[in-house]
Amino acid sequence: MPLLPRLALRQLRSQLRTTEWRALLLATWIAITLTTLLTLLGDRLERGLLRESANLLGADLVLSSSRPLSNERLDSISAHDVQTTPVVQFPSMISNPAATETPPMLTSVRAVESPYPLRGEILTQPAQGQALPGKGEAWVEARILEQLGLGIGDQLQLGYSQFRITAELISSPDRGSGFRSFSPQLLINRSDLEASGVLAPGSRANFRLLIAGTAEEIGALEAQLQPTLAEHERLLSLQLDQPLTGDTLGNALAYLKLAALTALLLSALTILLSLRRFSQQQYTRSALLLNLGLNPGQLLRIYLYQLLIAWVVLALLGLATAASLDSAVQSWLSRLLPQQLPQAAALAWLSGPALGLVMLILLGLPPILSLARVPVAHLLRGDTPPQDRRARLLQISCLVLLALTLLLFLRAPVAALILLALLLVGGVLFGYIAQAMLVRVAEPLARRLLLGRLLRLRLRQQRRWHRLQSAVIVLLLTLLAVVWISRADLLSEWRAKFPTDTPNYFVINIQPWQKSDLDRFMQANAIDSALYPMIRGRLTQLNGKPIRPQLTPDQLGDNTLRRELNLSWALDQPEHNELLAGHWWDDAPELAQISVEQDMMDDLGLKLGDRLGFDIGGQQVDAEITSIRGVEWTSFRPNFYVIFSPGALESYPSTWITSFRLDGERKRLATEMLQQFPSLTLIDIDQLLSQLATWLKRLGDSSAMVLGLTLVCGLILMAVTLLQALEQRRFEAALMQTLGASGEQTRRLDLLEFLLLGLVCGLLAGLSAELTLAGLHLALLHVEPKLHPWLWITLPALSSLFFVVTGFLIRRPLQLDQCYRLLKAQS
């Protein structure tokens, strides 16, 4: 082996006995382990969540169209290395041919062919495995069986064909979007479709192509399809157009990134501190080696080799530790998640070692360079060479470079930068506030207790360490408290936010001739609700000219232009809408008037007085915007982008919609209503909410778990810094005992210091968690913030416990006879 690596190896081995080098190794090991673990976990959760969402879609990507897909379109998709399967979904009435007195019911029929679905699975009773309904067979949901009085093995009538029911559909992905996903579902084989005769040209149907493939292929295909979509086509992917799952996924990833960033910052901080102390310990050795004839370049290489050798060992060790932790976490997660997490990408394994190397080099270079430049005279003077401006500049550049690497590594530079800034500013702020609080607390103690007087000096002596400790612990406890509370609290508060009379049923497809009967039914059963007409129309004109050329490309992508809108008319302003500008209807207008929802106004750049033209069933209807409404879309009441003044739309064919609340026993009224009005479609919102609740809970659990790991990382790293400061503390204790303090006094002083530090950190964390939660309440939930008194007890208790336990585990008692020897050794 050449001389320099050999020297480096020998140096490394001999330095294994020093606290600084041990701390450095431990910190890097932890950094590599945690980075690998968090990346693996993040990758797996991301893949898991994506797959979960994919399960709802039944595919990775869905091309949805109101017309059959063209051959060119299908050819261009099949050119990609993806798996596809076509689906046709349409509303249709079905009936029980054996019981003609039972009224027919409206269902959502899906005609599918194998393979189906491409993601997720269909659950049936009896189980059918991977099979699909065969020719002449149908799988139906329980609601259909119940309502039509059918059972497995019975026949049902769909159009001109009869189908034998071979299974009850328990759950299935790809229910379609919008209301069709809520209708009772029926699954048939696609080869039966033509014979049934239900799908004539012009029939309202949704033609979908489910697509599955690798993330890269899907990404490429999505990028290719998106700009070429026709007006009647929509692309549904995991992130787009799936408001529920898309947002949830985004939040989950944001949480993970926050946790990862925090863990990385903690590791970097510990490595930085270790390296600084390590290099200070190396001044004399470096001066000696330079004095013996090594040149600065060779010295630099020795230290770089030393770091590299350490890195190789630590990378292997870190990977092994991460792998075992990962399998432990996986077994824990398997109880948390309904299905096994997928394997992480091979590249995810490299992230930890790669980042460890970057950290070691970028953080290690400045102190090592200063070692190579140490003057030989240091041997004689023994003082620490002052840091020159160039060295400081290099250190700052390396730190900036490391920050950039971290940002790139997190793949969300802007969000991460904001987080980084928040964490740094928050950390510095918390550090100084904690220190000021400690001083405040010590003053009255100093007036009463002798120990308090010593504490005052201790607080000055350890102020930097206190600032660092409190910054990290306060931030970590805040994050953990916020995530922990928000996972349970926010969800329940979100649910509690809805008034108790929030509707839990929607009824659609009410035909005009059923309206008065339905009204009577609802009045007779004291169901409180209002019926709204619903007419489908497309927005085509603005102020007498086609709207599209008048809009920006961004505005053209707006949802309100991409599909037909549900329009309504009403005499009075809906109670649950807020009039934000303009006025409700004039008495005798020349032109029909409309009230438009605020977001649509903003998105399309509309203003009061603009005239909008709608294409309703091939006819043009013009109206003037006379008011702007604020609409709470999550109010579970019928809401419309556009409401017309009475008289404008009555002549057009419409259906009606309503929503109402039924609790407990009264829920049977829903079934009664369906029996009386079989063609209505009833949507159960409680089901929808419980799906959302499950998602939020799962998201909360995952992020709390990841953050819990980061907290462990923070605790270990803080223990490392405490270990580093141990020598200094022992020296201080030795000096104090020599100057007349007893061993018991120094022990009590340590206890008091750790206890107070813990209390102050816990109180600060409580305060910042309350503020953050209040912010979340106001910004996200729009509800009054509330206090969490138990936070103010648990956090200080937890934090004091941490400081006292860690402090006393690391603190080694100092016997009196060791004191003078220890002081003498430092001479």
Partner: protein, 229 residues
Amino acid sequence: MDQSTLSPTMIEARALSKHFDTEAGRVELFTGLDLEIARGESLAIIGRSGAGKSTLLSLLAGLDTPSSGSVSIDGHRIEALDDQQRAELRARKISFIFQSFHLLPELTALDNVRLPLEIRGTDNPEQDARQWLAEVGLGERTGHYPSQLSGGEQQRVAIARAFATRPSLLFADEPTGNLDEDTGGAIIDQLFRLNAQQETTLILITHDQELAMRCRRRLRLHNGVLTEV
């Protein structure tokens, strides 16, 4: 501890022995040492490196326990005192000056001098500390940190810290070991001036013959035997 005012002897060591057990066997530093140091006396203990001077100092200061024999400080038998009583004795009567000054780096000169006064529970520690810093010529530098002071200045802070508690016994272990000749000379002048002024018993450990000559009495520790020179 009231008998201390009566005793003319500050330190009395009888049949003092110290040995260490190592893997290679027992190392005897000294056996059967007898030593008496009068109140207000200045004594230099000289000897080559490794002779056991510092161990002897820590025994005489009550910081270490002898393998056999006894040490009395100002009439108090060290072996009979518990940890708390020994600490009290040190706080009230004993001070140290070290070769490497041993100031706490994060504390100002003022706070470093205050430290033993706070340990003792003195009434006006800040006022006393300021007075003693002025006494050693650092009245203008009370707010400076050790890193902002020269070696000589740091040792003067250490001298102020040592005298601030008005000790009756002062141990100085190679006090000029880390200083150049001129600075060391000035420091020693100051040390002896204050020592005379405060009537402190001074025990100085050094291998500097010239410095040793400034003490009234000199002892050489060689091969475990203490001889007057």
